[in-house]
């Protein structure tokens, strides 16, 4: 590569001579590597702790029961309430006998719905008791 040439009044600079990297050790890389090792050794400690804590842990079935109990114990506005009517029809069918089925199938849907409402629970219980 041709050296830089200035005009007559400015002395030209010597050509650039790239230098080799200095010979001192890569401390930054070493510290980083040490930090990674320390983190792994810390992780080993956590994993050993977790292994110990597993002894005597309750089996999954207990947690599954808790989930099922919670879910079935809470109302849900996104689960359609018509299911209640279908269940009550089957319940009525069982309680009143199959002959009544043809009769109950003529029962107005509003009547069934009214049986399902909370206010009429007692009425339904009395009705079924007297059959």
């Amino acid at each position: 590569m041709a050296g830089l040439r200035g005009n007559g009044s400015v002395p030209s600079l010597p050509p650039p001579r790239p230098k080799s990297p200095p010979q001192y050790p890569d401390l930054y890389g070493k510290r980083r590597e040490l930090a990674k090792v320390q983190m792994l050794e810390r992780e080993i400690g956590f994993l050993e702790e977790e292994l110990k804590s597993i002894e005597g842990l309750q089996p999954a079935s207990r947690s599954c029961k808790e989930v099922a109990d919670f879910v079935t114990g809470n109302a849900d506005p996104l689960i359609p309430t018509t299911k209640k009517i279908r269940r009550s029809r089957r319940f009525l069918e069982m309680a009143l006998g199959k002959k009544t089925l043809s009769f109950s199938s003529k029962i107005d849907a509003n009547f069934i719905q009214s049986l399902c409402s909370d206010k009429n629970e007692k009425f339904t219980a009395v009705l079924l008791k007297n059959v």
Partner: protein
């Protein structure tokens, strides 16, 4: 110690970690005597059934001109905030579909948004690596710009997810591409705690989702591209309380189960899972076989208020309604009339559990509820 010796120590430690993880996996398998579906079947439970018109789309919220990335409901009063690729936050009245605010963001690359507990502010974050807070009582300019009331800066990567601490308008938690979660004090704009990070025990890849426990707001879970979910106690930032393995791909979405003792996850491996926070057990996998085709990734999940239903949005536009007890898909909202035309990117339940809102790459949001 030389670098070579350090590298050897590193290899040995990695082997030990892997071997301990294997042993943990074996020990946990011995305790998995059943899953939720197995237990529910043994109790004679039958799946929830939906008629074809039981769940209907009651409102379509139109106004964004780009993909919807995130949405959040107010804790009370039926308002929704959404964030879109069009660089705007829109606040909607979910009952009337009216827009009350359309905020043009200083950085268009927004990924997440959240409503404050009192409904007066919204937070958002994205590729600018910051979380911006807007006070909704402030006026917007003609072009929709609104001054930022607080800028939370400190993350070294994008902000993927944010949520206000329940009942605390002054604290929120962010998840970031810098592998950390941060608890912020909005009043001062400072970080109260950093969970994970370069020299702390935590996620080893981008954190893309966060969910705070509604029953105990000191606990939150995070989901990450390192395929794990982690449970954190906000009082202990130095390490996660527990790490949950099992997924075979990025954990894109995490959400606490309504009882506060379990949480759900959704992943690039196409499955949703239910984990127990006290024991660490994986209680259930929600997986729909897809034959030879690669399973679509799960983008977002939400539980119904009783926990009986798990709503899951997928990259192929499906939105499955899972019966959480029987681990069966009981409805695909994506197949209903008037459903979204694109991927469902986000979803969330109203505070009273009566409506589900879904956001999509088709630029719309839709609310769904039971047809009375």
């Amino acid at each position: 110690m030389s670098v070579a010796e350090l590298k050897e120590r590193h290899m040995a430690a990695t082997e030990t970690v892997n071997s301990l993880r294997d042993r943990l996996r074996q020990q946990r398998l011995l305790l998995l005597d059943t899953d939720v579906a197995g237990y529910a079947r043994s109790q004679g439970k039958t799946p929830v059934t939906f008629g074809p018109t039981d769940l209907v789309c009651c409102r379509t919220l139109q106004g964004h001109t780009g993909k919807v990335h995130s949405l959040d409901w107010t804790p009370e009063r039926n308002r929704i905030v959404s964030a879109s690729q069009d660089g705007r936050l829109i606040v909607w009245n979910a009952l009337t579909s009216q827009k009350t605010h359309a905020i043009k963001l200083p950085c268009a690359w927004v990924m997440t948004c959240a409503f404050s507990p009192n409904g007066q502010s919204v937070a958002c974050g994205g590729l600018d690596s910051m979380c911006s807070i807007f006070n909704l009582n402030t006026q917007t300019d003609n072009d929709g710009s609104m001054p930022v009331s607080r800028m939370l800066s400190g993350h070294k990567g994008y902000v993927s997810s944010c949520q206000y601490v329940p009942d605390e308008d002054t604290h929120l938690i962010t998840a970031s591409g810098d592998h950390t979660c941060v608890l912020w004090d909005i009043t001062t704009g400072l970080r109260t705690s950093v969970f994970g990070g370069e020299f702390q025990s935590g996620h080893t890849s981008d954190v893309v989702s966060v969910s705070i426990n509604g029953s105990n707001s000191r606990m939150f879970v995070s989901g990450s591209c390192d395929s794990t979910a982690r449970l954190w106690d906000t009082r202990v930032a130095s390490r996660a309380v527990r790490t949950f393995h099992g997924h075979e791909g990025d954990v894109n979405t995490v959400k606490f189960f309504p009882d506060g003792n379990r949480f759900g996850t959704g992943s690039d491996d196409g499955t949703c899972r239910l984990f127990d926070i006290r024991t660490g057990h994986q209680l259930q996998v929600y997986n729909q076989p897809h034959g030879d085709n690669e399973a679509p990734h799960v983008t977002s999940i939400a539980f119904s208020i009783s926990g009986r239903l798990l709503f899951a949005g997928y990259t192929n536009g499906d939105c499955y309604v899972w019966d959480t007890l029987l681990a069966q898909v009981v409805l695909d909202l994506g197949s209903l009339q008037n459903s979204h035309d694109g991927r469902i990117s986000c979803l969330g339940l109203s505070a009273d559990g009566s409506a589900l809102c879904t956001g999509s790459w088709d630029t719309n949001l839709k609310t769904t509820s039971v047809d009375k």
